[in-house]
Symmetry: C2
Subunit: 339 residues, 2 copies
């Protein structure tokens, strides 16, 4: 019983610690983006409202906490470099959101107007650039060129993934391999780096850091599939952002790939006719119905589920701790989330 | 006579050296942007065609060469860090061109189609991001966090300047001080850093590095005024890019500020009516005629000229050399250029 109580208390303790650390990360985030120009500050305050799940900072911190074998050490496992890295990755993520909203012509993000909707595409493009620049500026405050280099290599991957995605826009014939190549770059690479750097900065053993990096990569892929699913079958009010944009923008998603791989010529033709409708007249509900009826939604969910199981498997290589348990919970939450 | 011949030969020597160094910079530029994705490589090859004046790399190299008092040393003054920094600043500059063309809806750049015109705004936004990311990635290969930090601080300024400019769009009442605040950030800050870092990396004395930084700042402001002038009274075929965009986009330029400060109410009203025309129907020729007649073009030219003289004055603090002479020539060329 003592063990169980201890575990619950530990669990409570780590949650409290995590919340305090995330608050510290938010402070670094705000301070970094502060400008002497009120016009810039207004925009940054708006962007700060998009912070929601804080997945990347949470993973950076939690992987730091999980890296130590000795539970007695976990309260000191996370340091300044974790907080700065967590803020850096969150700023990078915000930059991708702001630019994605321009590309997707989205109007809603976390139930607030997008920057492009509120202030126009020009301002949104420039604000995204300001965020990217600030992320690198903040990162270099660590005085660690190796980390700058790895963050830079990962954002190169991220942008290349986005470019590959747009290159294949409205190409409904691409296969799962191309789809995974895209989302590994655009989503999983940064999430994986958060986990790996979080572990390394806490002095993790190489095999633990590697396992947590692999955990992040698998989790990241599953996360993106869930995003794809929510765009198709989510509820706009709950998700808090414009939905159906992937279809409008000709982005290939996993449910759609599964659909085309399992239907006959008639159903294929019906879907292609729906997808060929001009922007603004695409009927997302009709498309969702076709996807659901074909079993493509279920099978995309199964793929995400299996990736989450693989991510959880990686945690067996990490010393047992409350942080490890939270990482396990987090993996499950990635595909059960409705926002 | 011997002295003069020696000088001419030295001048020839430094030009040959500079050309070889710029070739090396272009190689670093191309290698950095190379991707395993053909779709990304195609875009980067297109962007490489925008390289024209190579002002920032040239200044980085020349300020390195000018930093040494002893002429005998100049052939060894420029090293790997100069070449990498020169490529970094050129990639940053290319990113701003690609994003500026999106904002300005430009179709022509260096007499070639812009990325947005050729491949759409989405691709152009993402390609600009890819370039920014690669600039920081390349910069971190120097293993010098101080340089990363200064480059990051400068790109923060650059983006803030662009945001300030867009914030004041169509505000025809802003004064010279606001105009200079904008262009110092968006144009002069990076050019000044090129000069200063180029000098410092060659081991310049602090007062020489400072003078060259000031030279770059003044040159950068003059450069932007000349850009403003060319957009209004240049020849599209010679300039090689879409003109009249500043007016269409409601960007305040120095000739326009001078116009409003010197005309009477009738002329003011006439200009405002022209500027209030919807996009696509603005008559740049009519506006140019008004600006020319008012003397505003001449007075903006005089401001640029005076800045160039101030920039040249800074060179008196730099040891005399062929490189110093070239920097002097370059300052003059900034405002006599027609492209």
């Amino acid at each position: 019983m003592a063990g169980l109580i201890q575990k619950i208390e530990q669990y409570h303790g780590i949650r409290t610690l995590l919340e305090a650390e995330l608050e510290a990360v938010s402070t670094i985030f705000r301070r970094q983006l502060a400008s002497d120009l009120p016009a810039v500050n207004d925009l940054c305050r708006h962007v700060a409202r998009y912070q929601g799940k804080m997945l990347r900072p949470t993973l950076t911190l939690l992987c730091g906490l999980a890296a130590r074998a000795d539970d007695a050490e976990w309260t000191t496992a996370v340091g300044d470099s974790h907080r700065v890295l967590a803020a850096v990755t969150e700023i990078i993520h915000m930059a991708t959101l702001v630019h994605d909203d321009v590309l997707d012509e989205s109007e809603l993000r976390r139930n607030a107007a997008t920057v492009n909707h509120l202030r126009g595409n020009e301002t949104a493009v420039l604000l995204g650039d300001y965020l990217i620049s600030n992320a690198f500026h903040l990162c270099s405050s660590l005085g660690r060129p190796d980390i700058n280099r790895r963050i830079g290599a990962t954002t190169n991957e991220l942008c290349a993934g986005e470019l590959l995605q747009i290159h294949h826009r409205e190409d409904w014939s691409i296969d799962e391999a191309t789809y995974f190549a895209i989302i590994e770059r655009k989503t999983a690479s940064l999430i994986s780096l958060c986990c790996r750097l979080g572990a390394e900065e806490a002095g993790a053993a190489p095999e633990v850091a590697e396992a947590l990096g692999a955990y992040g990569r698998l989790l990241g892929i599953a996360f993106q599939i869930q995003d794809d699913l929510l765009d198709l079958v989510g509820e706009e009010r709950v998700v808090g952002k414009s939905l159906g944009r992937d279809l409008e923008k000709g982005k290939l998603t996993l449910p759609m790939i599964h659909f085309f791989s399992r239907v006959d010529a008639t159903e294929r033709l019906e879907m292609l006719e729906h997808l060929a409708q001009p922007n603004g007249t695409v009927q997302p509900l009709r498309i969702s119905a076709l996807l659901l009826a074909s079993g493509a939604v279920r099978s995309a969910r199964a793929t995400a589920s299996s990736l989450v199981e693989q991510a959880r498997d990686q945690l067996s290589l990490v010393p047992p701790s409350a942080a490890q348990q939270l990482l396990d919970d987090l993996a499950c939450a990635v595909i059960t989330r409705e926002f």
